[in-house]
């Protein structure tokens, strides 16, 4: 069975204890989105400031509270997307979700070869985020790790609607 060390890697605990990009941004120009995990009460408040001229993430700030996995994932996500183009951020979201589900589908033994997921992962540098891989061995905690990414996705979808 998977041990606690698989779940709570040192880098995760570091992001939990010293979360990056905590704070708020003025709305507008930033866009604010809240994400909730209704089962456990975890909460992510995401402030995303996108530069419309370059379509890049000018700044990102995070508020809210939750368990170490949700908070570390949020912190890592904020570091990973800052300064990136929208296109790169969307790639990163897909890659992260693939990281979370590739193992999930293996665990469930659904027979898929995961090639679509592998394509999402190809060529994307996840860096620190790979430390969250261990979460998939604890299926009930996957939603903790994906909360901030779903919130980010929602923020991107909402901003693209306002801009188009």
């Amino acid at each position: 069975m998977a041990g606690l060390e698989d779940l709570y890697r040192e880098i995760i605990l570091d992001h939990y204890r010293s979360p990056r990009n905590r704070g708020e941004l003025a709305v507008p120009p930033a866009h604010k989105v809240e994400g909730f995990n209704p089962l456990c009460g975890d909460e992510v408040v995401l402030y995303l400031d996108i530069d419309p001229a370059t379509d890049t993430v000018r700044d990102v700030k995070i508020a809210g509270q939750g368990c170490s996995i949700s908070q570390a994932s949020t912190s890592m996500m904020s570091s990973a997307v800052k300064g990136q183009s929208i296109e790169e951020v969307r790639k990163l979201i897909r890659a992260f979700k693939a990281l979370m589900s590739i193992h999930e589908s293996k665990l469930e033994g659904d027979g898929g070869d995961g090639s679509d997921l592998a394509a999402d992962l190809a060529g994307v540098r996840l860096g620190d985020l790979e430390a969250l891989q261990g979460v998939v061995k604890f299926p009930v905690r996957i939603k903790c790790a994906t909360l901030s990414w779903n919130t980010l996705q929602q923020a991107l979808d909402e901003t693209s609607q306002t801009h188009s």
Binding site: L4, L39, G41, D42, G66, C67
Partner: protein, 411 residues
């Protein structure tokens, strides 16, 4: 030693034969759902194997046997809460459905714009959201009894809150804090103001001898799965005259006396509120669970849980001191066996994850009581809850696992 022989009781529950992660199962989540004794599993198995048929329909032997077993379960439930008449027990899916039934049927027939329903800050979502739905639909006013510093209902303003109210809907025992609310004075106060009282007794009935007549309650909701019985069945007790006056909840078979093209007439109580084929075998299992716990004796159950809970509160305080906050009364006389706590700097989810390594099952989260969690100013708590199969050794296992969590997160 305690009032119950836990070693013997544990042997009645097959689940305790298994291990989790190579460790003895320490089940401390009975406030969420209780484990099932062999007596319940056997009763249900027997019902399916030997006399299963739909009830109140067939004239053949096994249909008659099934009907008798089902109605016998209703009699057991009625006796268990000292209901004056067995027709006052309506089988529902769970306590949540029981409260929804009252909100839907009694609420829609009796409440109009401007009427007030009084709730408290420690209610489970099951006794909040049905009234919020009704409030949005009917424009009724919801009023809230606040809590005192020691996690009890603050009744200092009760008369003002009840002024002009039609219903007081309150929990008999908090699923988060463990607080036991003294129902009789609340019922008296409600009645003095011309209001009815609904008691969410989901956490209370499994642990303390319940007497709906002594409470002088009007509606009482509870479920089977927290009293060692199966899921999928619960009960609403209500005074006969109230049920008799209330319009039906769900429409369909069983709840009718006659149906014509231009309308229908309703069946007698309690079947008027039991549309469709009910959870027959679950009801039989519910009855078996009541037999099991009645044989232990509810006074012994309460005495046992007081001892275990006191031991848990003392052990937590002794071992962890200020680094752990207990959210709930410390006075054992006014609380049940649900103990919520929070470590400084460790999220409840992370605590329960570490505990799972040692096969210690606790609940982490908001416990379906988000308004209460906001009052407490915490996002989530860890909750250990005790029942007839828990003893001091289980508390010790909890304490050791918690010490491990504290060490792991180095707070």
């Amino acid at each position: 030693m305690t009032a119950l022989d836990v070693a013997t009781i544990k042997r009645d529950f097959p689940i305790f034969e298994r291990e989790v992660n190579g460790k003895r199962l320490v089940y401390l989540d009975s406030a969420s759902s209780a484990q099932k004794p062999l007596a319940v599993l056997d009763a249900m198995d027997h019902a399916y194997r030997d006399h299963y048929a739909n009830i109140h329909r067939g004239v053949y032997t096994i249909a008659e046997e099934a009907t008798v077993a089902f109605e016998d379960a209703r009699r057991k439930v009625a006796r268990f809460v000292n209901a004056p008449r067995k027709e006052e027990i309506v089988f529902t899916r769970n306590a949540t459905e029981s409260i929804n039934l009252v909100a839907y049927s009694w609420g829609r027939a009796n409440l109009k714009t401007g009427d007030a329903v009084v709730l408290s800050h420690l209610e489970h979502h099951a006794n909040v959201v049905p009234w919020q739905i009704l409030a949005a639909e009917r424009g009724i006013e919801l009023r809230w009894i606040p809590l005192t510093q020691d996690f009890r209902l603050d009744l200092s303003n009760l008369d003002a809150l009840l002024e002009g109210a039609r219903l007081l809907a309150v929990s008999a025992m908090s699923n988060v804090l463990g607080t036991i609310n003294d129902i009789r004075p609340l019922a008296d106060a409600a009645h003095a103001h011309g209001a009815l009282i609904l008691v969410d007794a989901c956490q209370y009935v499994p642990h303390v001898a319940t007497d709906v007549q002594q409470w002088d309650a009007d509606f009482v909701a509870f479920s089977s799965h927290k009293i060692l019985g199966p899921t999928g069945i619960g009960a609403l007790w209500a005074r006969f005259e109230l049920l008799d006056d209330m319009p039906p909840f769900l429409g369909g078979g069983e709840m009718i006396r006659d149906v014509r093209l231009d309308g229908f007439t309703t069946n007698d109580l309690p079947w008027k509120f039991e549309a469709g084929t009910p959870a027959i075998v679950e009801a039989i299992g519910f009855g078996a669970a009541i037999d099991y716990i009645s044989a232990l004796g509810m006074d012994a159950v309460r005495a046992h849980e007081r001892l275990v809970t006191r031991y848990a509160l003392e052990s937590l305080r002794e071992r962890f001191g200020e680094s752990l906050t207990i959210h709930g009364p410390t006075d054992i006389e006014v609380r049940g066996g649900a103990v919520s706590f929070l470590f400084d700097g460790i999220h409840a989810h992370d605590v329960s994850q570490v505990l799972d390594e040692d096969a210690v099952c606790v609940r982490a989260g908001h416990h379906c009581a988000k308004p209460l969690m906001r009052q407490l100013g915490v996002p989530a708590t860890t909750r250990a809850s005790f029942y007839v199969y828990n003893d001091e050794a289980d508390v010790d296992a909890l304490i050791e696992a918690l010490a491990k969590a504290q060490k792991f997160f180095a707070v």
